[in-house]
């Protein structure tokens, strides 16, 4: 024993006519089926009774040195924690105060158990059985003493088992996984010249963290055709997201071979790929007669991939939306039978044809 006293030698520290007491504090994981108890050091131990003695702290073996020279009588020993100890060990429940009789020539022992707080966390697939490895996490904590916001407690990466944290502050815990998920767009298709908002939900990253959204050919998701820059924000529902408005331009998509894009939101290396989104061209056609006068007429266009557009030109203009990388294969002007049509598509030689008479 470091203090030279022993619970097995209770009279060792007693002076004639007085008694003494010694306190011992052990700790264990609260709620454990078979708790393994260990000594708890630095616990504040105060006594009250006929003789006043200054408080002590428990040593590494969980014990105080004897409070000696005590006038025989009832003495109450109270144990308490200070600083972080108060938050990580449960001094509020269970026995932290005990009154016993100290007798002349004897050393009375007082024994306490103060459990520690703990938390476990794990990440599994929905089957509830299989651990998911390699997911970065952030653990936040909020103390029960009126703290309103969570503060970061620790970070790590999931492994193939439950992560156990012992001797942690009591309170509420929030586990956020650092992931980018649920990519979505506010339109079912992307159209040249029309703004579209691309977004993904974000977890585990602070508001303001920089992020990107790569626009890729659906058939080449590894190569970005265009990269949009943004940052993590929080929407009205409190959901963090990376949302960027994009107005597709033909120049951005020069290497888009297929008619569909996917987009890849990324925050600090965490990314997700969206489902394919049709990419559509949008062009304004001018429809004029041979004298240059604007026409108001119905127009039917069949494109090279089989897409058919039925629109009406009003005062010589009509917006035609059609799949990316398709060209006009056939055109008809119902109501303009027997008309000779010139088609100037810009960039390719003008084509001329006639509607049936």
């Amino acid at each position: 024993m470091s203090n030279g006293r022993s619970l097995t030698d209770p009279v060792g520290g007693c002076s004639k006519g007085t008694g003494s007491l010694i306190a011992e504090v052990m700790t264990y994981r609260q709620g454990a089926a078979k708790p393994k108890k260990t000594a708890l050091a630095n616990v504040d131990v105060a006594i009250s009774g006929l003789t006043q003695k200054p408080p002590q702290k428990t040593a590494g073996n969980g014990r105080t040195t004897p409070f000696s020279g005590l006038t025989p009588g009832a003495y109450t020993v109270t144990v308490s924690g200070s600083g972080t100890m108060k938050d990580t060990y449960d001094f509020d429940n269970g026995m932290t105060s005990s009154t016993k009789e100290v007798k002349k020539g004897k050393t009375q022992s007082y024994y306490f158990e103060v459990p520690w707080f703990w938390l476990e966390h794990e990440v599994k697939y929905p089957d509830g059985k299989t651990f998911v490895e390699g997911v970065d996490w952030v653990l936040y904590h909020k103390s029960p003493s009126g703290q309103t916001d969570f503060t970061q407690h620790s970070t790590g990466t999931t492994a193939g088992s439950t992560i156990s944290l012992d001797k942690i502050p009591q309170g509420q815990y929030k586990l956020l996984l650092k992931v980018v998920y649920d990519p979505s767009a506010d339109a079912a298709e992307a159209v040249i010249g029309t703004p579209i908002t691309l977004k993904a939900k974000i977890s585990g990253f602070d508001v303001g963290t920089a992020g990107t959204i790569d626009i890729c050919d659906a058939h080449a998701p590894g190569t970005a055709l265009k990269t949009l820059n943004g940052s993590v924000s929080e929407n009205q529902a409190g959901q963090r997201e990376l949302a960027i408005s994009w107005t597709p331009a033909k120049a951005d998509l020069a290497d888009l071979k297929s008619g569909r894009i996917v987009f890849r939101p990324t925050v600090q290396g965490k990314s997700v790929i969206s489902a394919p989104l049709p990419m559509l061209n949008k062009e304004t056609y001018q429809v004029v007669d041979q004298d240059g006068a604007n026409l108001t007429t119905n127009i039917t266009i069949r494109f090279s991939g089989g897409h058919i557009v039925d629109e009406r030109a009003v005062n010589g203009t009509v917006d035609i939306v059609y799949p990316w990388n398709q060209t006009v294969a056939r055109m008809n002007f119902p109501g303009q039978n027997g008309t000779r049509i010139s088609l100037d598509e810009g960039g390719i030689p003008t084509r001329t044809f006639s509607t049936p008479s």
């Binding site: 390699g134 998920y181 394919p276």
Partner: protein
Amino acid sequence: MHDFRNAHNNRISGQVLPRLQLSWSVHRAWHGDTVKILVRTEHVKDGTKIKLEIITVGQTIASFDKETISGNSLDKNYPIDWKKTKLPPKAGDFVVKGTIQTLNLTATSPVLTVDLEVPAFSF
């Protein structure tokens, strides 16, 4: 989702959904071309086995069951050589179906249109 809470002296059980996406490297090809099957996953462990089936008109014409995911992706070259394969009538649109049995996960790619006939030209 991805925000899991509990008080001290408890266990927080987080959950993530694995995800599987498949596509072809091109949307149109000719017999004899080599195309790529592109597999992208989320939260799938390296070494996880995936079965790939090439399907047309409801019939599986080729199958690979020894492929594995690495870095949440798999790019597999696939030479289109069906000379010895009995293709069903009206074959022309092909999808690749991926199955990760251990995760009960299945996905199907968009269509790859393959020109099976020798082009006929007229002058």
